[in-house]
Symmetry: C2
Subunit: 153 residues, 2 copies
DNA sequence: TTGCGTGCAAAGGTTTTGCATGGCA
DNA sequence: TGCCATGCAAAACCTTTGCACGCAA
């Protein structure tokens, strides 16, 4: 699960530094490229993809697939210092994009259940629950109330 | 949530008939096209996409987005004739990529739990549990035993 | 007859890959 | 010095779209 090589290049450090400044938000590869472009320190698309892939497998960054046609979103989560004792679960609102961190014993039971009954070793760092947060649910309900036939799109 | 038009074309009927025969399994658009190709009744890619989109909005088919690089998976659920809930959960192995789909009452409790205790409306169609399948876990353990430093790739 | 459905091809966008060059250790 | 990282460009891939024709109602 660990990555071996890893030269500590300037690009890598700058990328991590930038990600830290937007921790808790989601950024796309093109966001990253645009940012370094404006800094006068352009970073190639391939480089960003390759570094992101590595950061994801290192557990330092989460990757979210919102939609097949949208670019992937990345979120810096650091070294999970805040998630040390219990496992940290993430819920992502598909509508407003808010990311909710949960420390919940009952959810931890999922991992045990999957292991025992389905022989599947869950990786909570990589797993994201997609859905609708309560605020968006309320807003959608309100919209549906106004225009019952146009709730979608 | 309903679609208006709807001519009852032959392609549509044949597509639904095929989907019924693979109910409970995942199929991609290219699977569908390949199937009709072998039947000598080729169906255009665009047609399949357009019909699938409609079937999804009609609630007859579920669409699953597993990974940014994988094609979307579709699953026929019909008119919910079969007793259980139409939604299934997915486990994706990070190592070999195998996709496991589960119809599991205990996992469905998660949705209820998230709703009641965290006010989060889970979307099981978008949610994928990442982890390691049992076969890969066994292989990794074997590799780790042989060569502790080369578990990956 | 009207207008949706279909097929083909091309476009759109994201992500990956090949290869030569540059930088870290 | 060796090997990884980078950049550029091109490829690969899935999905959508435009347009002309065919078919359902």
């Amino acid at each position: 699960m660990n990555i071996k090589s890893q030269y500590k290049t300037k690009h890598r450090e700058e990328l991590i530094a930038y990600l830290e400044t937007v921790a808790g938000q989601h950024v796309t590869v093109s966001d990253v490229c645009a940012y370094f472009q404006t800094l006068g320190k352009p970073m190639g698309t391939a480089t960003v993809y390759r570094q992101m892939e590595r950061l994801v497998s290192e557990g330092m960054v989460n990757k979210y697939i919102i939609d097949a046609n949208s670019p992937a979103c990345f979120e810096y989560i650091g070294s999970q210092e805040h998630c040390c004792e219990p496992v940290c679960f993430h819920c992502k609102c598909e509508r407003c994009g808010v990311l909710i961190h949960l420390h919940c014993d009952e959810l931890e039971g999922i991992a045990a259940h999957l292991q025992e009954h389905h022989r599947f070793t869950l990786n909570p760092m990589r797993t994201v629950f997609y859905g609708i947060c309560d605020r968006c649910a309320a807003e959608e309900a309100a919209e549906a109330g106004k225009q019952p036939d146009e709730a979608q799109k």
